[in-house]
Subunit: 273 residues, 2 copies
């Protein structure tokens, strides 16, 4: 039986865990805490520890494919095992930002939804409709397309104005929500873009937003909570370095630093506050 | 000693082989010719056969990551082995279309330029400058950014007009060639976009164009040759399905169908005709 996700299942999970937290698993071999060897095995062990310790607080896990691909095929094996290890009780996002012509996009959809069995994959919409559609054809799985990203480069293209007066990102988001329903598609909306987040939520009431960029990147949590939520909760807030690297700025044990940081994010994210 | 590419080395290779041909290795397990089992081993064997037989005609090989990722970690191993098998005498392009925030883009650059040892990687520029820059920092290797793509979806966003009257793709290309010199950056320009190809070549005289979309996708070879070349040759023309699937529409042996199709593309591409 396939693991079927929906906006209502996500909302129920958020309410049950009292948390919007998605934990990003972006560890690197050369940046593991003391006690974990700088090897693929060390990375696997630390990543599994982060997953185990954050389970009470996380509704989702996000796996950034770049940090596995840089280890080659060994890295891809670790990625597969971690997605499996996270399990079907949480929403597992392959943060891959793929985008290509139709027949290639189909192969990417098979890669992430069938071979890897992720529940969602992030996608770059710049190549247009045929680059998105193959990801919409999997009931119970989600295509998460770039809305507006959290990085400085978002100003280079995404925020520039089109002839009709809209910003490029606004125009693309309006296409995306025509192509995919709230049960097929979500949008990536960077936490650092609080004005744009608010504008998008007004125009797009029903789709979930995946919000990266809190913590290290400087996104404002309060704005995300004030402007991002919708009647179905509607937001998944990602923290990566803020949790994986919490040991670097803590006097506590590695384990306790993970727990405390996840708990702190989760408390901030409390939907009943 | 690293394998160092430059526009002049590429031009010399094009002139020596009398060919602009890049062979795309986009095979799939379930679409191999008779005699090749529908397994990863069968795919590896057929892909190596295509590489061996096309060596006299190909200046470059392009590996579409999607068709390897759909096999999971086994596929990534095959991809690594095929890039190695193609060897340092040809220009090896990882067609990955990656694009992400700065620290993630750095990890992708390490994945393709260091771990996989490809000579070039295709990149999606939609996330802006910090998503491109890490790929420019490898002397002798190339960042190949999307200029205008060959697919129908190119009309959805890339060809739309900006407030300043330029199309989105023109604006992005003008940024890209400011960010990366002809020794760092190339542009993907779809063969199906002949008007846009001609416009881009007028504005961007010195950068190489990687041109996919001839053959199955319907791109016009004559236009590409007439409008794409520059004083340093300046074009790499990719054919994938037209060569890998030539056996499907041929009475010849599989081997001869590969050779004939590569030779035919190469003859068309003859720089001295």
């Amino acid at each position: 039986m396939p693991n079927h996700w929906s906006t209502s299942r996500l909302a129920a999970l958020i309410q049950a865990k009292q948390s919007y937290l998605c934990v990003g698993l972006d560890n690197q071999i050369n940046d593991l805490p003391p006690g974990f060897p700088a090897t693929p095995q060390g990375l696997m062990a630390y990543s599994k520890l982060v997953i185990e310790l954050t389970r009470p607080y996380a509704i989702a896990y996000k796996f950034n494919t770049a940090f596995y691909e840089e280890m080659g095929s060994v890295g891809w094996s670790i990625l597969e095992e971690l997605v499996y290890f996270a399990g079907e009780e949480v929403f597992r996002i392959a943060d891959a930002k793929r985008g290509d012509i139709g027949n290639t996009a189909q192969a990417y959809a098979r890669a992430f939804f069938e071979s890897m069995n992720a529940d969602a994959v992030t996608v770059n919409p710049y190549m247009g409709r045929d680059s998105i559609e193959p990801f919409l054809d999997y009931p119970g799985k989600y295509c998460i397309a770039l809305g507006i990203t959290s990085n400085p480069g978002a100003s280079d293209i995404q925020k520039k104005l089109m002839k009709n007066g809209e910003a490029v990102y606004e125009y693309i988001c309006s296409l995306l929500v025509e192509w995919g329903s709230p049960e097929q598609l979500m949008l990536v909306v960077g936490a650092t873009q609080s004005d744009e987040l608010a504008r998008l939520r007004k125009r797009i009431p029903h789709h979930f937003f995946l919000v990266p960029g809190v913590g290290t990147q400087g996104g404002n949590l309060e704005s995300v909570l004030n402007f991002g939520k919708n009647v179905n909760e509607g937001i998944i807030i990602n923290a990566s370095r803020g949790i994986n690297f919490a040991w670097k700025s803590s006097e506590l044990t590695v384990e306790q630093s993970i727990i405390n940081s996840a708990q702190a994010y989760s408390a901030h994210f409390n939907p009943r506050e």
